[in-house]
């Protein structure tokens, strides 16, 4: 689905991502891990086109797809239209838009808009339905997080990117989000790329893992292979 080769990125003068090679198989649920400040968010923003990489390639599409896209040639909005949904770290809700308008933003990139799309989001996140008229910015942190996920789902993405989606969400809903991701992945073949710090959740939801350390891709494999040794080496301080 996503294949990253030799990716380098700089913030001004500081080299943040170093020669990243990474493959996200179609239909996988890959968890991207790493300590704070290792470049996880930066990598996702590169994929989304919100920061620009200085070198390397990012290919998007199934492995055998003849029409694989060179994402670096596309603008962020085009990437969204091609089916990449994004739940950013820090929620990035449109604070002055109502909850409903925030959700409708998820429908913009799509030509065909299933009539029940909104309803499905409401069943997944009932809170949102109660607060349709409220400004997005007024929601509590966890409510905003749910809104951000609902908004990304409305885009009907082929690849869903989530940057620490459970941050600030109450435990039972965290659980439901996990279930939801697994279910969507099973039912629609949605590929999921998720950044998550909490190991139990990662182990439950992810099928694969990738680890970033100091801006380099240092480990990869099926989640079952994520050993305590690796965790100690790369994820503890």
């Amino acid at each position: 689905m996503l294949s990253i080769k030799g990716l380098n990125q700089f913030y001004g003068g500081s080299h943040t991502l170093w020669d990243i090679d990474m493959d996200i198989p179609t239909g996988s649920r890959t968890c991207l891990m790493g300590r704070n400040g290792m470049g996880k968010t930066t990598l996702l923003r590169c994929v989304m086109g919100l920061v620009s990489a200085s070198s390397g390639s990012i290919q998007f599409g199934s492995d055998d797809d003849a029409a694989r896209l060179d994402l670096r040639k596309l603008s962020a909005d085009a990437r969204a239209s091609h089916g990449i949904g994004y739940v950013p770290q820090g929620r990035e809700i449109f604070s002055q838009l109502s909850v409903e308008e925030n959700l409708r933003m998820g429908l913009i990139a799509k030509r065909e808009r299933p009539a029940d799309a909104l309803e499905r989001v409401y069943t997944q996140f009932p809170v949102l339905k109660q607060m349709l008229r409220r400004r997005g910015g007024d929601l509590s942190g966890g409510q905003q997080q749910q809104l951000a996920i609902g908004r990304a789902l409305l885009l009907q993405p082929r690849l869903l990117i989530l940057d620490e989606p459970c941050e600030g969400i109450q435990p039972n809903i965290v659980h439901e989000i996990g279930d939801l991701l697994i279910r969507l992945n099973a039912e629609t073949g949605l590929t999921v790329l998720i950044v998550e710090q909490k190991l139990p959740f990662a182990r439950r939801v992810a099928s694969d893992f990738r680890i970033l350390d100091k801006g380099r891709a240092v480990a990869a494999g099926p989640i079952a292979d994520l050993s305590d040794e690796m965790v100690r080496h790369h994820l503890t301080v």
Partner: protein, 266 residues
């Protein structure tokens, strides 16, 4: 030890003095807040003891952050009263006065000064007289510099000492904000979701830090990470729809069916 605190009474004459004679540092009584008719806090009552470490949990939107807003003067309640110790009426003070009186806060969404270095962020937060004239002629003493350095070590940002805070990662910003809280050396710390976006090990370190602070300080922590809460909690308060749903030890709360239904799930 806490009682001894009111011996040093002439700390600052202008600021209202903290009186902990009943060993309660924070009283919230009958607090209600509504936004366009929606009741975010509904007749909330909460008492925090001096030196206590209190965890507050509750569903998203229960009103936890709003409660902190009320305590720090950001939001004015429609009804109710809020007292800091016996004598300080929080509702009559402005935000800086509340901060000066001894309440520090870490925000849910990390907010730091992006165009200042990490060091300067801590310097700004440092306790001391913050009147315009004082600040104009203030100099950092070597003692203060040491203090900042030690906090930098505590929050693991020593190597980012001279980096603009705006370019820190999310987790680093969380730590910086905790550091600013430490620099303020408040009597009461309000900590809103400190471990969101932190790795398990960092979460542990945060837990240790907060536990070590309690006793000499009073700490109120809001968090959704149950493992974290379990590791630090003595008393847990559960908020739901703007009022207290349950309160007790972690075990009591964890097995409360109401709490399981609205919050924990099974």
């Amino acid at each position: 030890m806490i009682g001894g605190r009111f011996l040093g009474q002439n700390r600052r004459s202008a600021a209202p003095r903290l009186d902990l004679s009943h060993n309660i540092i924070l009283y919230l009584e009958g607090i209600s807040v509504s936004f366009d008719g929606f009741k975010a806090l509904n007749d909330l009552n909460l008492y925090i003891e001096a030196g206590e470490l209190r965890c507050i949990i509750g569903p998203n939107g229960a009103g936890k952050t709003t409660m902190m807003d009320v305590i720090t003067g950001k939001t004015r309640p429609d009804t109710g009263s809020a007292w800091f110790g016996q004598t300080v009426d929080l509702l009559s003070l402005s935000e800086p006065e509340i901060a000066t009186a001894g309440i520090g806060r870490k925000f849910q969404k990390p907010t730091i000064f992006p165009n200042h270095t990490t060091f300067e962020n801590l310097e700004l937060a440092m306790a001391g007289d913050k009147a315009v004239w004082k600040v104009l002629f203030a100099r950092i003493s070597s003692e203060q510099a040491d203090r900042i350095d030690s906090v930098l070590r505590t929050i693991g940002l020593s190597d980012k000492r001279n980096v603009l805070a705006g370019s820190l990662s999310h987790g680093q910003k969380q730590w910086l904000e905790i550091g600013m809280l430490l620099m303020q050396s408040p009597e009461l710390l309000l900590v809103d979701e400190p471990v969101a976006g932190m790795t398990p090990q960092e979460t542990e370190r945060t837990a240790e830090l907060l536990v070590s602070l309690s006793g000499t300080h009073s700490v109120v922590v809001v968090e959704h990470d149950m493992a974290f809460v379990r590791s630090i909690a003595r008393t847990v308060t559960v908020l739901h729809q703007g009022s207290v749903l349950a309160e007790g030890s972690m075990d009591q709360v964890q097995n409360d069916p109401k709490v399981i239904e609205v919050y924990l799930g099974d």
